[in-house]
Homo-oligomer: 361 residues x 2
Amino acid sequence: MRAIELHELEALAIGAGILGTGGGNHPHLELLCARAAYAAGKRAQLLAPEELQDDMRIAVLAFMGAPLVTKERLPEPISACRAVRLMERHTERKFDAVMSVEIGGENAFLPLLVGMELDLPVVDADAMGRAFPEAQMASFAIRGLDVYPFALADIRDNEVLIAKAENALWTERLGRKAAIELGSIAGTCAAPRSGAEVKAHGILGSTSRAIRLGDIVLDARRRHEDAVAAILAAGDGALLLRGKVIDVSRRTTDGFVRGKVRIAGEGRTLDIDFQNEFSVARLDGEIIACVPDLITVLDAETTEAIGTEVIRYGQRVAVVALPADPIMTSPEGLHTVGPRAFGFDFDYRPFARRGHAGVPS
Amino acid sequence: MRAIELHELEALAIGAGILGTGGGNHPHLELLCARAAYAAGKRAQLLAPEELQDDMRIAVLAFMGAPLVTKERLPEPISACRAVRLMERHTERKFDAVMSVEIGGENAFLPLLVGMELDLPVVDADAMGRAFPEAQMASFAIRGLDVYPFALADIRDNEVLIAKAENALWTERLGRKAAIELGSIAGTCAAPRSGAEVKAHGILGSTSRAIRLGDIVLDARRRHEDAVAAILAAGDGALLLRGKVIDVSRRTTDGFVRGKVRIAGEGRTLDIDFQNEFSVARLDGEIIACVPDLITVLDAETTEAIGTEVIRYGQRVAVVALPADPIMTSPEGLHTVGPRAFGFDFDYRPFARRGHAGVPS
């Protein structure tokens, strides 16, 4: 176990943005919250997966709802803390640590904030290895673990528990409706996991990975260098295209932001579909990357990730693909998070690990 | 404690219809369910309020959702039984008896069905003395008792618990959304009540009252007499008008059925507004009865109540008013169930206890 250093917080925010693959929102306000806690003398403690005891009990946390709302109502760990306490009361067992359901976007910070509040360490792991829009898209659900009980709380005095659910989709349906009614944002604590379950079915080392990616960006920024090549090397990724955003169509439906973005560069055209996160990339009409692999649009100047809700005409970008965790590309994984789960009529194909050499500096 | 006799079941159904004041649905299918249980040798046990021990624990039951759905999916006590068991697990206390949140309509039968299933007696009481459309309109909530926890279950394997709620309106909002997601119908178990609380804040004797009203109708039917006068005498009510339904406007909005019905007779016109239940009656434009008093439209031939969802042009009817329980007409009661709570811009006025003598036979 080690304390996360103050200077690592910014790296975590940048890395979580990259792993957010366009969704999950940039954790800018969460970063400010964490810094405020650090200024007050607190420190988030990071627990390596190999330090987990099999019978430890881990709270899996997330904000559930519309990311946009967290821009109006400042993020706070209180609602998630109350969801944790509700889960402890209902199951009559205390938690030993916390972790995030997804390392992508603002949920990367929630376990740090809650952990500092409740004095619990943060497991260096998540259940998505990125951001996904729905609760059943977590590795624990994909591996068939029970997805209940599931606790939600808000900043008033409301607490809802899905005590039992027919399956993971029902947890998502019932939880989503409760979160919407609570103001389109709720702090949630998913089914408690044992240390053994996290080690066997979690995506391990995600917090460190996000910090590492962010460090690469900060490092390159200090040297006035382009960080894309280093990100690709560190993440075993590929550059899909550098270019300019020339078209964005975006609509908010069924609680998600959906749409397409078109990027032109190097004489070619890259079209990317999104549902909260970027899902499919087509180069001159040919599919070159798709979910569950990570498609991330980076600002050409800052190398920070650009979200699907804010991407706009004229931005200069570099689009990269990073490989999904093997749990996500397993048959059960693809059933839940492959292209067909997002409504596309084709099977998953891994992106080609090419182009490292060809990255223009 | 006494067994409810087989022949009383039909009387209960008719009486619950009358006290349903147009909503809550006629409990025809629940009557069939209860008869099936009786045919299998079971008997519902009725516990008089004075038999309640102060420290007894009572489960307050209801189907929550759209009454229409219970006409497509046959009523069953299983979902409510699972809500009861969830509440027992969460609060770590067993129940000693069950009761209905509302005596009006099909919810009058739910505690009988659940009681026979779980071998628990049915308290001769409810929390509305009629039917009301929303959960916060119960006497326990009006008297300021905690309205959580609140448990819901469906016929699949889904169980939801409102562990805590800011206030009664939040229980209604969160419970309603969960019930809708569960298929627009859920078995619910409201906050556990002690025997002392039921005696102090419940509406006592409602099951007996419903059976008595139903008996009057059955009795008159056997003698080929008109039962309206006897109902008015037994219920301290007033005849508002006899006539013919000449217009109905009905729309389903926000999960409720709302509208107006116009009845013409004796040279006069009676307009009645409804939101699930009949709420305000105007005779030639003048308000003569309003919530929380009971406005019931009786079929002129059978003297059975006609629901707001099925009332139609051409029906011959007698419209009666029956007085609300004093809890409902207290200042706190009127705040929650008076005309303003239903969106009308006037204060409650009791209906005139007149017309007994003038009832045409």
